[in-house]
């Protein structure tokens, strides 16, 4: 293992670090560091508001997953809605609404 992996593994890690930082900082600069929401956080909040308007949401039954990318970010909100209609108990309503390109602040 060591022989083969040493051939493939020794790719430099600095470019990875640079890319990760660029994505992260682009996001942190737009949100300004003062608690202002970025687009994804805003979407999350508003989607939850809409859902809450229609059903009583149990906070423990909500799962939120987020993955910020350079060109594409995903926000996945998974809400369990109890007894939507007659017979079926606790149906799961999965909302995966924002598999969308998120505008990134342009690189200088």
């Amino acid at each position: 293992m060591t022989f083969l992996s040493s051939i493939f593994k020794r790719r430099s890690s600095a470019p990875v670090a640079r890319d990760r930082l660029q994505i992260l900082l682009a996001h942190e600069r737009t949100s300004g560091g003062d608690g202002k929401d970025d687009l994804l956080a805003q979407l999350h909040r508003e989607i939850m508001e809409v859902i809450k308007r229609h059903v009583a949401v149990d906070q423990d039954k909500v799962q939120i997953k987020l993955d910020r990318g350079a060109h594409c970010s995903t926000l996945e909100i998974d809400v369990e809605v109890p007894g939507l209609t007659d017979a079926k108990p606790a149906e799961k309503l999965a909302a995966t609404p924002a598999a969308k390109a998120v505008p990134q602040s342009k690189k200088a």
Partner: protein, 271 residues
């Protein structure tokens, strides 16, 4: 029995976050359930070192203020399933870390995990005090360098006086972890040796982590060194330290790099 461990140092840049990630991953790989809690409100970095920076939705302050529950804020590691992360808030200020809030969160985490590892911010202010307050044991990360040793001594004093354990008249279990150690320089007499540091601080030694490029490489790619480069000298030193934390009796040695044939033939290029 779950344990709350604080990783602290006083001085910044000695390797607290690296150590938190590496020890946590090593314990989790050993089958323990582990959560890493970042207390560095406003300057979080544990998420970045763990490679989870893109996945943060909620943080410690959100949980304390009731905007999210614990399960929503915990980020599960994708490589080691028994390892989770509770990130710090990047925006709010550290006054939001209320004593009652932190106590509640730590209490809830104790019920879910074998190990709760608190990554302390540098300094001796509120964040650092909150990180250590509920701890059962402490890992004091120290570089073999005068200012780091002095700050560690200060922190040891705080662990013995301002924590919950101290206030209940109990003894805090303290362990010294020497990081960025260069055996060659120490043997030449140009770096404080292990014995010197141990004599000055007089707390038991948990391990010696040799200075290693693998640590930087691991943080570049966003993985604890014990996951990214498990065979490296630094990772083996961390793995042994984690086993000692879990109660095993192992002699403290300084692992050396194992050079593969390939590395030996073609010396690694520096770009």
């Amino acid at each position: 029995m779950s344990k709350v461990l604080v990783v602290t140092s006083g001085k910044g840049g000695v390797g607290k976050t690296t150590t938190t990630a590496a020890l946590g991953a090593a314990l989790a790989k050993n089958g323990q359930t582990v959560v890493l809690v970042d207390f560095d409100v406003g300057l979080r970095n544990l998420d970045l070192v763990m490679g989870a920076e893109r996945r943060v939705v909620f943080d410690l302050i959100n949980v304390i203020q009731g905007d999210a529950n614990l399960a929503q804020a915990l980020i599960k590691d994708k490589r080691v399933p028994s390892l989770s992360l509770l990130p710090a808030s990047q925006t709010r200020d550290k006054d939001a870390l209320t004593s009652e809030g932190v106590a509640k969160v730590i209490d809830d985490l104790r019920k879910k995990f074998d190990w709760v590892i608190c990554d302390s911010p540098a300094g001796i202010e509120r964040g650092a005090q909150m990180a250590m307050y509920h701890a059962d044991m402490a890992v004091i990360v120290t570089n073999p360098e005068v200012s780091s040793v002095r700050d560690s001594d200060r922190i040891i004093g705080m662990l013995d006086s301002t924590t919950e354990k101290a206030k209940n008249g109990e003894k805090m279990e303290k362990h010294l972890l020497l990081t960025r150690y260069d055996p060659q320089r120490a043997s030449r007499g140009d770096m404080l040796g292990t014995d010197d540091v141990l004599e000055i601080l007089s707390i038991p030694l948990l391990g010696i982590i040799p200075e290693s490029g693998d640590v930087l490489r691991a943080s570049n790619v966003g993985a604890p060194v014990t996951i990214a480069e498990p065979e490296s000298a630094a990772a083996r030193a961390y793995t042994d330290a984690a086993r000692r934390l879990a109660g095993e009796k192992l002699e403290v040695t300084i692992p050396t790099e194992r050079k593969g044939l390939f590395d030996w033939l073609f010396k690694r290029r520096v770009s």
